[in-house]
């Protein structure tokens, strides 16, 4: 890895560490109550008292960005993790299933893959109705097809490898050889893809919230905050810009880390 790429990777990891700290211990970083309204100090520009300024109801934007991390990032990470698990189970089973079952599963998967992820999530939320949990479910369903496809291919490749055959010849039962040698290998490839997928899941969560389909006011959530400030963007830019920066930095950092991990994993394999 070149020096500049190493620097970039270090910066990305630092950003993710800060975001993780914000998500886990928001009250340590931002002492102000993110929900406390104070009409007298509404729409104040960034200052020492309010680092990122205040919004229309006088709530501290910095505090809301920090407290929003848990929900925005948390839903994205959770959705990705769920998608990996479901993708692994469906894909691995399809990989060893008889041909008709494998074929049917993969054609359904193809149909889901044919639509952009965000559109699928939007349709699912439209069916389930708005809310944080429903957004998580929607983003999960939208992310699953990619993992199903990768898991199936990896399973089919690994099942034929010599070390799995070697285990079978030694007398290891078929199911055990599958769960011990094939599944962990598939999970390895999926988790690398997942680090890249987290970025787009976070973006999808923020996007759905922006449209008002996710958590509802006064809950701090980046997408929702972005949407809340859009009518006063000309006069009070800080209400939308800071959560926007938070989303951008998180997604870019997650993607950089994911791509580096993938490059390393590929280098490791070859």
């Amino acid at each position: 890895m070149s020096a500049s790429r190493r620097m970039l990777m270090a910066a990305a990891l630092l950003v993710l560490a800060v975001i993780a700290a914000m998500a886990l211990f928001p009250q340590l970083i931002a002492t102000a109550d993110p929900l406390r309204t104070d009409v007298r100090s509404a729409l104040e520009a960034p200052s020492a008292a309010h680092l990122f300024g205040t919004d229309q109801s006088g709530r501290d934007v910095f505090s809301r960005v920090v407290h929003g991390a848990g929900r925005s990032v948390g839903i994205g990470v959770l959705a990705t993790a769920l998608a990996v698990v479901v993708g692994l189970i469906v894909g691995a089973l399809a990989g060893v299933a008889p041909r008709p079952i494998d074929g049917a599963t993969m054609r359904i998967n193809d149909v889901l893959m044919a639509f952009p992820e965000f559109l699928v999530a939007l349709v699912v939320v439209a069916i389930l109705g708005p809310g944080a949990i429903n957004v998580a479910i929607a983003v999960t369903i939208a992310a699953i097809p990619v993992y199903v496809r990768l898991a199936r291919v990896q399973t089919r490749t690994l099942v034929l490898t010599e070390h799995v055959e070697a285990a079978r010849i030694l007398g290891v039962p078929r199911v055990q050889a599958f769960t011990r040698h094939v599944v962990p290998g598939v999970l390895g490839s999926l988790s690398v893809l997942a680090t890249i997928g987290i970025g787009s899941s976070i973006l999808a969560v923020a996007g759905l919230s922006f449209l008002g389909l996710g958590p509802v006011e006064p809950v701090p959530e980046w997408g929702l905050m972005l949407s809340g400030g859009r009518n006063v963007l000309g006069t009070a830019w800080w209400i939308s810009v800071f959560p926007g920066i938070a989303i951008t930095l998180t997604v870019i950092s997650a993607t950089i880390v994911g791509r580096n991990l993938r490059a390393q994993a590929e280098g490791h394999l070859s």
Partner: protein
């Protein structure tokens, strides 16, 4: 007159000295071989002659003269004018070295496009000439084909033709025949010899004295970056000074195993065994007998069906027709069969330590959990590995250690019959000899019956009692190894023997 002069060449990467003070000269019409095992620095030496040392390598020498030109201070563009023009390279793996998306003709003509100013028609004519000069059958049709449509030997010929296109004075051949079958290898070696005789200086890089003795006039033996011995072919072969050279030469020549009498009963009888994949026959009507305590060698070239036969014996594949009849052991139970794969790196789960893989094998063999750790250590000792190595993952072991670990795992199931599929073909000569000795010792100690599959006639002869010679899925000759080698009946066996010596 020497056309390539290398003096005191040293190369270090990350502070490690990998080539240390190598000097040699090659004259026109001469073939000089650089012999050594992996890590000896021979390929790095070749790279330095082409100005292709990896980034970060520190190269120093007191002279590097190619075709009368001092090349030490060459810029990249100067190197580009020399490569393919005055000095050509034939790499080991022609399938990788040839562009898969270009036709053979275009590939060979590329140096002509870069270094010569020829019209399209002249280029075509020259390409045809080149293909004819490397004895490519049907050159005008081959020109329009892609690399994957050619066999390994023909691909290597195409690669040589493209290296010769610029009429270089020096041709560097880096392990050009290692990936080829024995009989094909003999043809390519003969071609290289012809090229040298026609007046080109050839540098032949190899780990295999059997190949070197067929082409080289002079030999440099390298070990750990240094030239430890050099001289004419005859000097080195007849009177090597260094023990290491002697080992390398010994590793390339194998005496057929002595006849052993009074050995056991039949363990397995194969009667008319056949197997086809998607309608293409892999093994046809194979009949043979495996005798207890003996080694049955199966020899053949790629695609001869030897691996398919071995896999049927292990039980991974089922024969389409015929019968593999196992006879019961003295204790009245079934024979246990184990397989040692060709590629031990692929045969171990890359995420698992060797110890964990061995424990899995022991568990599958019914060894209680409490005894497994002790048995792992015992198995490691039995294959002459220190038990501490079991804590490593397969990628952290050397090729020889991995193959020993693979043998240890096969032994974990306490087999009666061990099937070894090309167990030593990926190993360096001296390591190979040690693994072969280990197999001999295990056979005597455990009374193992072995099936030894290989493309290398010499190795099969050295370890086997009986031998099956396979060609295109058919057993063309079988019998005690000494008599098959002394008086081969089938023309293919005769050709194989001639190619190997």
């Amino acid at each position: 007159m020497s056309v390539l002069t290398v003096q005191d060449l040293s190369i270090s990467i990350d502070g490690r000295l990998l080539v240390d003070g190598v000097s040699f000269e090659v004259a026109l019409g001469e073939c000089v071989a650089i012999v050594g095992e992996s890590g000896a620095g021979k390929s790095l030496t070749a790279a330095a002659m082409l100005g292709l040392t990896p980034a970060g390598a520190r190269v120093s020498s007191s002279a590097l003269i190619i075709d009368g030109v001092e090349a030490r201070r060459f810029s990249q563009s100067q190197w580009r004018r020399v490569r393919g023009n005055r000095i050509g390279l034939v790499a080991q793996d022609a399938l990788v070295s040839l562009d898969p998306l270009r036709r053979i003709g275009a590939e060979i003509a590329e140096p002509l496009v870069i270094h010569r100013d020829l019209s399209r028609a002249e280029r075509r004519e020259r390409t045809l000439e080149l293909l004819e000069s490397v004895a490519m059958p049907g050159p005008s049709t081959r020109m329009t084909q892609y690399p994957h449509e050619l066999s390994g030997g023909l691909r290597q010929r195409a690669l040589i033709a493209s290296a010769l296109a610029g009429e270089p004075s020096v041709l560097i051949a880096d392990e050009p025949t290692t990936a080829l079958d024995t009989t094909v290898q003999a043809h390519v070696l003969a071609l290289l010899r012809e090229i040298a005789d026609a007046g080109t200086a050839v540098v032949f890089i190899s780990h295999d004295f059997a190949a070197v003795r067929r082409v080289a006039d002079r030999v440099l033996v390298m070990r750990a970056g240094r030239v430890i011995e050099h001289g004419t072919m005859a000097e080195i072969l007849d009177a090597p000074n260094e023990t290491y050279t002697r080992e390398l030469i010994a590793a390339s020549t194998h005496a057929p195993r002595e006849d052993r009498f009074g050995l056991g009963d039949a363990v397995l009888t194969g009667i008319g065994v056949s197997k086809a994949f998607a309608g293409v026959p892999a093994v046809t009507d194979a009949s043979f007998t495996l005798v207890s305590g003996q080694t049955l060698g199966i020899v053949g070239e790629s695609g001869s069906g030897k691996t398919t036969l071995a896999r049927m014996i292990v039980g991974v594949e089922k024969p389409d027709a015929g019968d593999l009849r196992w006879h019961a052991t003295d204790h009245g139970r079934q024979h246990r069969v184990q397989l040692v794969h060709q590629n031990p790196l692929g045969a171990f789960d890359p995420r698992w330590t060797i110890a964990r893989s061995l424990r899995e094998a022991l568990a599958a063999g019914g060894v209680p959990r409490a005894h497994r750790a002790a048995r792992v250590a015992a198995l490691m000792k039995e294959v002459e590995l220190t038990p501490e190595l079991a804590r490593r993952r397969p990628a952290q072991l050397s090729g020889g250690q991995r193959q020993r670990a693979a043998i240890a795992r096969a032994l974990a199931a306490d087999p009666d019959v061990l099937v070894l599929d090309e167990p030593v073909s990926a190993l360096d000569p001296s390591v190979r000899e040690k693994v072969l000795r280990l197999l001999g010792r295990l056979q005597r100690g455990r009374g193992l019956t072995m099936i030894f599959v290989s493309h290398d006639l010499g190795v099969v002869a050295a370890v086997s009692d009986d031998v099956l010679v396979m060609k295109d899925g058919v057993i063309v000759e079988q019998g005690p190894v000494a008599s098959v080698f002394a008086a081969p009946q089938h023309p293919f066996t005769q050709e194989l023997l001639a190619a190997g010596h």
